[in-house]
């Protein structure tokens, strides 16, 4: 079984570790990520102006090209997933826009491609029960908080990922790996997103609240599905420390890094050098590497 895979820009640069671990884990789980040829930027934001057809063209082109090669497209980055999935939904539902878009990109795409997040593949095609059985090194004793951010879940009708107010998919995944999951109220709150460019203080504040809430509820590590979130909650910890002197840093993982540990991948292939808060001492202490 293989899936068409759209990595997105960040997974080739700042989040190489996310990309590599996902590819390596998929092999161990018996499926292949087949990278889409000649892919472009996803557009980075789903346009909210209803007449902004131009912004819909990059994700539409990606979808149309993918459809020529397969039936299921998967992504890892929550932002790409959001843009592509919502565009797909729009093409399915809005006949007029569909025609306009197809005229622009000179394709005939009807919205009949399935867009799945990697976690959704693990849930529905592998199954968390199966995953649990394939775990070589359970993450026993690791108290982790599953941080969804907002992009996977909202708008819920378009995304169809999980309950937007109280999702459980990510927790079920971590439990399958043997981790102890920490529930915390900020798990679906915004990380500050692109505010980290224009108003960095706003993003720092968001990150502080999210991490503070996770730590308060007993988390030793926070797990992310999104390079944008990871930038804000991992790389911004330096800024948080400057503002809140008592803040103690907490390691942030991509979910695929933890999957890699659990699947028994060599820890040198897990790309920890790209993590801002070095997780290696923590993992050693926990006896996981």
């Amino acid at each position: 079984m293989d899936y068409l895979y759209f990595p997105g820009c960040t997974l080739y640069t700042k989040a190489k570790n996310f990309d590599q671990t996902a590819r390596n884990c998929s092999k161990l789980l018996g499926f292949e990520l087949r990278e889409l040829p000649n892919w472009t930027c996803c557009g980075a934001a789903f346009p909210l102006a209803t007449d902004n057809i131009m912004a819909l063209l990059p994700p539409s082109r990606i979808l149309a090209v993918a459809k020529e090669q397969g039936t299921v497209l998967t992504t890892l980055c929550a932002v790409c997933f959001n843009v592509i999935k919502r565009t797909n939904y729009l093409i399915q539902e809005d006949e007029e826009k569909r025609e306009k878009i197809n005229n622009f990109i000179e394709k005939n795409y009807q919205g009949d491609l399935q867009v799945l997040h990697y976690l959704e593949i693990l849930r529905q095609d592998i199954g968390f029960d199966q995953l649990k059985e394939r775990v070589k090194k359970p993450l026993t004793g690791l108290r982790a908080a599953a941080y969804y951010g907002c992009m996977l879940l909202r708008p819920s009708k378009e995304m169809g990922f999980d309950d937007k107010e109280k999702p459980t998919l990510f927790e079920e995944f971590l439990e399958a790996l043997g981790a102890e999951v920490v529930e915390f109220p900020y798990k679906i709150e915004c990380c500050g997103s692109f505010q980290s460019v224009g108003s960095p203080d706003v993003a720092t504040e968001c990150a502080y609240k999210i991490l503070g809430s996770a730590i308060k509820n007993g988390a030793e590590a926070v797990v992310s599905t999104c390079p944008m979130c990871t930038f804000n909650i991992d790389h911004k910890q330096m800024d948080i420390k400057q503002k809140y002197l008592d803040f103690k840093s907490v390691p942030i993982f991509y979910f695929t890094q933890l999957l890699g540990i659990a699947m028994g991948l060599d820890d040198r292939t897990l790309g920890f050098e790209q993590n801002a808060v070095d997780p290696i001492p923590f993992l050693k202490k926990k006896g996981l590497i």
């Binding site: 309950d163 937007k164 107010e165 109280k166 109220p185």
Partner: protein
Amino acid sequence: MVLGGGIGGISASIDLGNAGYDVVLVERLPSIGGRMLQLSETFPTLDCAQCTLTPKTVETGQHPRIQLVTYSELDEVKGKAGDFTVRVRRKAAYVDWDKCTGCGLCQEKCPSKCPSEFERGVGLEKAIYTLSPQAVPNKPVIDPSHCRYFLEGKCRVCEKICPVGAIDYEQKDRFVEERVGAIVVAVGFDLIPKESFGEYGYGTIPDVIDGLAFERLNSASGPTTGEIRRPSDGKIPKEVVFIQCTGSRDPDRYMPYCSRVCCMYTAKHARLYKHKVHDGQVYIFYMDIRSTGKGYEEFIQQSMEEEGILYLRGRVSRIFRDGDKVVVWGADTLTGKKVEVSADLVVLATAIVPHKETKELAKRLGIHADEHGFLTEAERKLRPVETNVEGIYIAGCAQGPKDIADAVAHANAAASKVQGLFARHGKME
């Protein structure tokens, strides 16, 4: 026949009984009184609901022309206006009501307690229970889903204690047939479950309750004997948030309509709370204030200006638990600011919805219900109590959200329609 023994059904029954007609009053619960019996005080006069209602229930119970058929549901209807044959299912109470004297010993001694629907989950009841000490009729029923004997096969304490031997574990549902000339449907309403609201914790936060639960906390006959104590730890809450329009006026996700009473009862709740907890702070999140009733706007103005209640125009996006506090995130759209309140108790003014059984009841009666399940009147403006079936009339909140005054007026109208029908066609039994 009147279906539903709330204030609407009671009013219609008394009217018809006083007019000289025999009335069969069918009630789903063990005793009459309906939702009003759950209320503490009523707006805009703040008089005690039970004090105004009890004389009515007693009058109904003692009325020579009203036959009470409680703990019963309509099963089947045949016939037409003037000559309906109605089959009624009398649910097994496991108590022989003819023998029972209503002494209450069984309830005192019953060893199993369970969360009570009547107390909206904030209080307990025994497995053998009446709805209130002033229940009409004052006869208990056994809830087999909580009774030790039914669950575990032993106990029978109530049987041993009963001085007249009224307990009958072998009782079965039975059916009775009544011939009636007209039917008034006044089966009332329910509230949209607080479990529907993911943003408010799906009902998992104990200190997030609905309006009826707050009525019970505030009621002298309620589980806290009228002291405002929050469900989680019994402490007196000092910061209370009320959220109006929870599930109402939200066409995308919940109910598109206005539930009509929430603005008023929330103001009432806030005032009653302030009268009991003087140093408490109340926040009310609202969309608009709809106070279109006699004396209502004055009541709201007084609440805002004299009672120190903080009205915030805006919606609440999230409620979560933080330690022993309930954190409320909302917006104040008049100042454009985000608001965060660390509350001790949150009260949701949840939307009025029909009972989920109302649609099925409508089908059995051959009358219409709308997409939400409210019963449909023959004509929106000019025939508000008639239905598409001659001889069947509707009253109260089963037709749509109403306050008590409107429900009573609606029931009075239904009763007078029945009298008109009988006058036209000659008196029937």
